[in-house]
């Protein structure tokens, strides 16, 4: 059998591989691109960019937890101008597709960043972060409210013709309501999930472990939660989904695809195993060969077919 076809189209972005680097852990690409084999990577979603530089949260910013990682980086980033001058040239030359994650304190800032990135060479799409739980005054209000989600996605949509992904927060009562709002506002695809809000306490100092008190939980611990939300979103919208949350193996990735994701992203998995993407890609190919499936796309939503009825919970 010839090599199975892993290419997918994610909301207008042609990906040679369905495996992406999630926004955050991969930074702006420089460090990993010079250290690991990125040939298996279909795309890079860079760390969130705001209009002006954001300083980030006070340390400690990280805490390991059971099969998970709690972080409160605080969307530290060098701002739009620095990104365009210093980071974009290198990223534009790299083989994987480039998706820029954008953040803002208000709708005007989101729109300004989107406008500033439109028409630049080497950018293949935008991902709007409406869901980061780290900033006290930041994205949380957008991603938890359908009306605010509609407003901010619409504002970004009016500034750009680039394929537009919207990254959803899992810290909501019903993910399908937000998913529909983003789709109605013009999103070309949805990324889910962002981190789950959480905290830890140091019992010796009797204080919260993170400098920011609250952080976002990621890693294998969150996989079942993420998978369920991808499943629910797939039911609610017609636009393609980028699934993420605790993926470290091909088996993990396949579950997201079968739940309804078009492509998947790895974040925390890079810390656990820097060569994770190569390993997942090899595992996907082996699975497809073993089951005599010519293209990964055939498995999209496979677990949803055959008249399966949603469980009670």
């Amino acid at each position: 059998m010839i090599n199975p076809d892993l290419s997918v189209n994610l909301g207008g972005i042609e990906l040679a591989s369905p495996l992406l680097a999630a926004s955050g852990p991969f930074g702006y690409g420089h460090e990993y691109l010079e250290r690991i084999d990125c040939s298996a990577l279909g795309g890079i979603i860079v760390k969130g960019i705001s209009l002006k530089p954001w300083p980030g949260n006070p340390p400690p910013r990280l805490a390991e937890t059971a099969s998970g990682l709690l972080n409160a980086i605080g969307l530290q980033n060098p701002g739009l101008d620095h990104f365009v001058k210093e980071d974009l040239p290198l990223l534009a030359r790299a083989e994987p597709r480039l998706i820029v994650n954008i953040v803002g304190c208000d709708i005007d800032e989101y729109a300004a960043v989107a406008a500033g990135l439109s028409g630049l060479e080497g950018i293949d799409g935008l991902e709007v972060n409406i869901s980061c739980p780290n900033l006290k005054a930041g994205g949380i209000a957008f991603g938890t409210d359908p009306a605010e989600t509609y407003k901010v996605v619409g504002a970004v949509r009016r500034q750009t013709n680039l394929p537009l992904l919207v990254k959803l927060s899992p810290n909501v009562t019903d993910i399908t309501i937000i998913a529909r709002a983003a789709e109605a506002a013009g999103a070309d695809g949805l990324s889910l999930i962002n981190t789950l809000s959480g905290m830890l306490i140091d019992i010796e100092t009797r204080k919260p472990l993170l400098g920011n008190i609250f952080g976002g939980l990621s890693g294998p611990a969150v996989l079942p939660v993420a998978l369920k939300m991808v499943w629910q979103a797939a039911e609610a919208v017609k636009i393609p989904l980028l699934g993420m949350g605790g993926i470290t193996t091909a088996e993990d990735a396949l579950q997201f695809i079968m739940a309804g994701a078009r492509a998947v992203a790895v974040g925390t998995g890079f810390f656990y195993e820097p060569e994770v993407i190569s390993q997942v890609k090899e595992g996907l190919e082996n699975y497809l060969v073993k089951h005599e499936i010519k293209a990964l796309g055939k498995l999209e939503g496979a677990a949803r077919k055959g008249g399966i009825i949603n469980g009670a919970c």
């Binding site: 852990p25 930074g27 990993y32 340390p59 400690p60 980086i73 530290q76 890693g219 294998p220 890079f270």
Partner: protein, 246 residues
């Protein structure tokens, strides 16, 4: 591969690894990330300063206090077992001038032992801890040509009585440069003395890390220019850059 394990004292361990690339290219003050052999139980690798390096044997060793799940796993490593280690990482110490003063507090000895071994000209190491049982340097490591070692304990159970900073009072100004690693309170006291005496100083600091290569911005430390990455701009910073927020 683990080539040697020394359980030095209760709660302390030294592991030697065969690691040709790291042993061949590391310089003092740099660190390595040790990946845990425990599946999903511990997702993150742990950062450790390089304690000793042997180019001929292609080995580096790490000295650590056993104080969490990761270091407990490492302390139970068997000789011959395979561990994934990445490095050398970070920006280490500048070149050590003759007559320099090195100040190590407890387990902070690790990067300074490597630094002390980088030249054979005269230099002095102040090695301090709360009590004698915390002066845990394995025998032989500090038997270096022209290295003067002054031990100091707060309770006087070994060497001089007092803190490393107490000893510094009598030695500054004078040395062309000072290099230090140890607990925060010690480094803050050393910083004050260095600034008052006009002694250039560099500190090796630590912070929780995830990627170890500068991508994730998890190991930020506050400097006058904003947050810096301990894993990339550090772990060695000039005294002016760190401990300004108190």
């Amino acid at each position: 591969m683990v080539t040697e394990k020394q359980a030095i004292a209760p709660g302390y361990c030294r592991l030697s690894f065969k690691a040709p690339h790291i042993a061949g290219t590391a310089y003092p003050g740099q660190f390595v990330m040790v990946y845990m052999n425990s599946g999903y139980r511990h997702l993150l690798p742990r950062p450790f300063s390089i304690f000793t390096r042997n180019r001929d044997k292609e080995e580096v060793s790490l000295l650590f206090a056993v104080k969490g799940q990761g270091t407990e796993l490492m302390a139970s490593a068997e000789v011959g077992s395979l561990w994934k280690i990445s490095g050398p990482l970070g920006s280490g110490f500048p070149a050590l001038p003759e007559g320099s003063l090195l100040v190590a507090g407890g387990i902070g000895l690790a990067p300074l032992a490597f630094l002390a071994a980088s030249i054979e000209k005269p230099r002095t190491l102040i090695y301090g801890a709360r009590t004698a049982s915390q002066l845990i340097c394995p025998p032989g490591v500090l038997d270096l040509p022209n290295l003067e070692v002054i031990e100091v304990t707060e309770d006087g159970t070994r060497g001089e009585r007092g803190t490393a900073a107490d000893l510094l009072l009598g030695l500054l100004p004078g040395p062309p440069a000072l290099f230090a690693c140890g607990p925060g309170p010690m480094l803050r006291a050393v910083k004050t003395l260095c600034l008052h005496s006009g002694t250039p100083a560099w500190f090796s600091v630590e912070e929780k890390m995830a990627c170890g290569i500068g991508a994730c911005l998890g190991c930020a430390v506050q400097t006058p220019k904003g947050y810096s990455r301990v894993c990339r701009e550090g772990p060695v910073f000039s005294a002016e850059e760190v401990f300004n927020n108190d």
